[in-house]
């Protein structure tokens, strides 16, 4: 099953097969599935936001099953401790009666981690995932443990329930490659959901992708050519999110406190590369960058008080930035 020489076209084919398998369980949510696939190939993590009952957890669970990856689910609660995630040293005794510490691995030692309702845990616990997410390793009592690649954290959060929650700190939010919004299903999709869940429907899921293939595709993604002017376009978009920058859009100046970090431009370009391959192209185009802009930037732009008070949607700001920067392309 090991694929050593994946063709670029295979990325598209793999994605189509994943979509087909997921469609057995998940109705609609095509954008969500595509963005999750992009995160997987880019080695990024996704923060999935949506009201309860939209299938966030089910999507992640199903994805882990068809990808043949180790799946861990962490239900975040206010009393969850970092050791509950990372693991802890326990005292053990050998046959000779010698006692020693043995590291008991936590659920973070998986490949697809579902951090369910991540904003319910305290910041201390949330930050326990920082190292794992960024460096794919954990340090416990001075000992480093590498996580098995491919490693992807898919965290969910409920935007409505604010009581008893701890908003994620900026440092952690920035570590998420994409912030994905789960949209409410259409009437047709709702009907299909009813058919699949209230009748005798037993889908049989098949593994369509293996860890090696994913890693191979990850290597390939990095080889996708991107022209310098497209890179410059991505950079300008990022700079335009900073209110003090000359490229800043009007809404940025008005409603934004902090713009996107350099991680955002990396994410933009990487996502653009995967999008190019998904469209059967061998190079990144402006439209790929534009397509990746909203999920990349919506959690990285910090609104000011005025923006918060007026309920400005970050996506609108990103939209304006895209219009402004794209308008200056021909000049």
């Amino acid at each position: 099953m090991t694929a050593t020489h994946e063709k670029p076209e295979m990325v598209k084919e793999h994605f189509e097969s994943i979509s087909r398998e997921l469609a057995k369980v998940i109705v609609g949510q095509k954008t969500l599935i595509k963005d999750l696939f992009i995160c997987l190939l880019c080695g990024g993590h996704a923060l999935i936001e949506g009201v309860p009952g939209l299938g966030k957890t089910l999507t992640v669970k199903t994805l882990s099953r068809i990808l043949d990856l180790k799946y861990s689910r962490i239900q975040f609660t206010p009393d969850l401790m970092p050791a509950d995630i990372l693991g802890t040293n326990i005292v053990n005794q050998d046959d000779k009666g010698n006692r020693y510490f043995e590291f008991y691995r936590g659920p973070i030692f998986g490949q697809v981690i579902l951090a369910d309702e991540i904003n319910r845990a305290s910041p201390k616990t949330q930050s326990a995932m920082l190292e794992a997410m960024q460096e794919e390793r954990v340090t416990v009592f001075g000992a480093e443990y590498l996580l098995e690649p491919p490693f992807i954290v898919l965290a969910t959060q409920n935007p409505l329930e604010m009581e008893g929650t701890y908003p994620l700190p900026e440092a952690q939010i920035d570590r998420f490659f994409f912030k994905l919004k789960v949209e409410y299903p259409t009437p047709q999709e709702l009907g299909e959901i009813l058919e699949k869940t209230t009748e005798h429907y037993q889908p049989e899921l098949q593994t369509v992708l293996h860890a090696e293939q994913i890693l191979e595709m990850k290597k390939m993604v990095k080889q996708v050519p991107i022209a310098s002017h497209v890179k410059e376009y991505a950079i300008r978009i990022i700079l335009a999110t900073h209110p003090a920058n000359e490229w800043a859009a009007d809404k940025t100046k008005q409603f934004v406190r902090y713009g996107a970090s350099p991680r955002a431009v990396q994410a933009l370009v990487m996502a653009g590369k995967v999008l190019a391959l998904l469209k059967g192209r061998y190079n990144v185009a402006f439209e790929d960058i534009r397509e990746a802009a909203k999920p990349t930037l919506r959690h990285r732009i910090i609104m000011n008080l005025k923006g918060e008070a007026e309920g400005i949607d970050v996506d609108d700001i990103v939209e304006e930035i895209l219009v402004k920067v794209t308008g200056e392309l021909g000049k």
């Binding site: 670029p8 050519p225 002017h229 497209v230 190079n283 990144v284 392309l329 021909g330």
Partner: protein, 498 residues
């Protein structure tokens, strides 16, 4: 390797095509500017206002025009990479050409990069060259067509009559002069005896009169023509004078010597007077035929000269007054002078320097002085000494009264001309309208005190309390509340009083 070679050849071909395209644009722009520059040059040439006549200027124009085109294009010239980006954007090629070109310059390329290059090769092969290359023809080049059309039209149009006929005041002022000239010419034609020694001049005068009538001549041209004729007449005068002198000298050589004719006068006129006087003294009424003929020709020429001088003077006054508002004097003078001259030509034996009997008194105007001429129309009797005011002495009355037909010398004010009156424009409604809106005045001083008003309310309260079904325990409470308000107001009012 094949892909590499193919890519290289295709991209080189594209580079060449882009260069040619750019060159074509420069040439087209040059043509556009050339046609634009030609229009004013041609117009000015047609109006004889351009210093260089003929096709030479059109041979000189391309130089600066090409420079202008280069100056416009060179700073905007894009690099090949930029051109490829522009093609990518224009044809929505998803940055394939520009990315392939950028990665082509790298020494080692990956598999995906090779695939990209192959894709670029296929694209270049599939796309038509006309599609890839930016359009040479832009919307502004429609101006080139318009300019060419305009040039073609201008080439066949004579602009001079259009321009001069549109010159309103000059046209109007030339009319009486033309009339005068044609009257003069007609008179000359009637009078067969009065053939001038300069036979070309009457024909020229006739041509000039018809040109003025057709409005194809401007004052400058008329002035030039008159000056030319004047110099011809003067030359002819001097020739006749020489002939007459030599004739006289020959006759004197045959006959006993008399006093020699010496020209003591100033110029030709003086010499002529002296000579004629001498001949009259010598021959009396029996002047020999040859001499008599020369004297008649001399006299005719002198009249012609006087007429031309007067016309030149009138033209000068036209140029002085043209464009000024209320240019009454020129037109009026022109007509009056024209009539006077016509009268003079009807009486050829009368000396020129003798004034008409009464200026403006017996002249019959062909048109009343209304309409185009700004002046007031003149009553035929106007200008005569008045009789219109009964009880007044007729001689002392000026103006509109019935004249006594007594002939008067025209009176000229000895003083210098005063300041020119500038007409400020047509009297009437102003451009802006001002209106005063007056505010309402204070109707009356309020004398009712606050206390009186509150008291009325209190009385009403008492009455309401009596009528309404208010619980007894609350009646006093409510009453006290309102009374308190009133008391507080009263206290406040008393405090504020000094």
């Amino acid at each position: 390797m094949l892909t590499e070679d193919l890519y290289l050849s295709r991209i080189t071909a594209l580079r060449r095509a882009l260069f040619r395209n750019r060159l074509m644009k420069i040439v087209l722009d040059g043509l556009f500017y050339f046609s634009l520059a030609c229009i004013p040059v041609l117009v000015l040439q047609k109006l004889a206002l351009f210093p260089l006549q003929g096709p030479l200027i059109y041979a000189l124009l391309p130089g600066p025009v090409i420079l202008l085109s280069l100056w416009r294009h060179l700073p905007r010239m894009k690099s090949f990479r930029r051109e490829l980006i522009a093609i990518d954007i224009r044809l929505d090629l998803k940055e394939r050409l520009s990315t392939a070109h950028e990665y082509h310059e790298k020494p080692e390329i990956s598999r995906i990069e090779r695939l990209l290059k192959q894709e670029a090769v296929d694209l270049l092969a599939d796309l038509r060259r006309q599609t890839i290359l930016p359009a040479i023809w832009e919307r502004r080049h429609l101006g080139l067509v318009a300019a060419a059309l305009l040039l073609a039209i201008l080439a066949f149009i004579d602009l001079k009559p259009l321009i001069w006929s549109s010159a309103g005041p000059n046209k109007a002022n030339l009319e009486p002069i033309g009339l005068k000239i044609s009257q003069y010419v007609r008179q000359k034609q009637k009078d067969k005896k009065s053939e001038t020694a300069a036979p070309a001049v009457p024909q020229q005068l006739q041509d000039l009169a018809s040109a003025i009538e057709k409005k194809t001549a401007n004052p400058e041209q008329v002035r030039e023509a008159v000056q030319r004729m004047l110099s011809d007449v003067e030359q002819e005068q001097s020739k006749i004078l020489e002939r007459l002198q030599s004739e006289l000298n020959e006759r004197e050589a045959e006959a006993p010597q008399g006093p020699a004719a010496e020209s003591t006068g100033s110029g030709i006129a003086g010499a002529m007077e002296q000579l004629v006087k001498k001949i009259q003294e010598k021959y009396g009424d029996q002047i020999p035929g040859a001499l008599s003929k020369e004297i008649v020709a001399l006299d005719q020429n002198r009249r012609l000269e006087d007429f031309l001088k007067e016309t030149a003077q009138n033209l000068k006054s036209i140029s002085g007054n043209s464009g000024k508002p209320g240019g009454k004097s020129t037109t009026e003078k022109g007509v009056v002078d024209g009539d006077r001259e016509a009268k003079q030509t009807q009486e050829p034996n009368k000396p020129k320097n003798q004034l008409p009997e009464v200026q403006g008194a017996k002249t019959t105007h062909s048109k009343p002085m209304k309409g185009d001429s700004a002046g007031q129309s003149m009553d035929p009797k106007e200008g005569r000494s008045g009789e219109g005011r009964p009880g007044k002495e007729p001689a002392a009355v000026a103006g509109r009264g019935k004249g006594s037909d007594e002939k008067k010398e025209p009176y000229t004010l000895p003083t210098a001309k005063g300041n020119i009156f500038k007409d400020p424009g047509i009297a009437g409604a102003a451009e802006s309208y001002n209106a005063h809106v007056r505010s309402l005045t204070k109707i009356a001083k309020i004398t009712t005190t606050e206390e009186q008003i509150i008291r009325a309310y209190q009385e009403e309260l008492e009455e309401t309390l009596r009528k309404e079904e208010i619980p007894v325990s609350y009646r006093m409470y409510i009453k006290r509340y309102f009374l308190n308000i009133g008391l507080r107001k009263e206290e406040k009012g008393n405090d504020s009083d000094p």
